[in-house]
Subunit: 106 residues, 2 copies
Amino acid sequence: METRDLQASERFAPDKMQKCSLFQTQRLWCDLYCLEPGQAQKVHSHAGSDKVYLVLDGRAAVTVGGEERELAAGQAVLAPAGQPHGVRNSSEARTTLLVMTAPPIS
Amino acid sequence: METRDLQASERFAPDKMQKCSLFQTQRLWCDLYCLEPGQAQKVHSHAGSDKVYLVLDGRAAVTVGGEERELAAGQAVLAPAGQPHGVRNSSEARTTLLVMTAPPIS
């Protein structure tokens, strides 16, 4: 059985946001994003994949389709295929997010 | 922007586990499972969809492919397509899980 402990999977780096893969299959990606204060994933889009961001710790300013909203731990957002999206650690503390993408980006 | 607050989305019932949909697209389902002590999702399988369970609160005994393992909050498991899987609240407290399925079960 493939299990993962999220806290043990966390990895931070001073130069950029870290994307830690939890599970990768032909049908989905499940990742942990670890952002130091001020770090970000640039706004981008992919035509054929939907993405869900869930803030696990800290606070994140999430952009979807030109709108930005600040989310706290326990809040989630959908970035539908084709919509520009990105995330930024808008807090003074480390921020972690669970990110699921389906299907994987080819 | 479609956002969800997980705590506000929780719903429990005395007769059976509650499955609360957070996001449904053509490519994925993202649900919150809410289980009172002793409640369970029966072991089942689906040939074409992968599933990820993440325990958010409480403890869950998760079965995948004939093996059962107890997971605590912050632990996740992959149930690959075709493998029998299910979940049971093995604790004395309420248990919630984030569950992602891709693609949706047809």
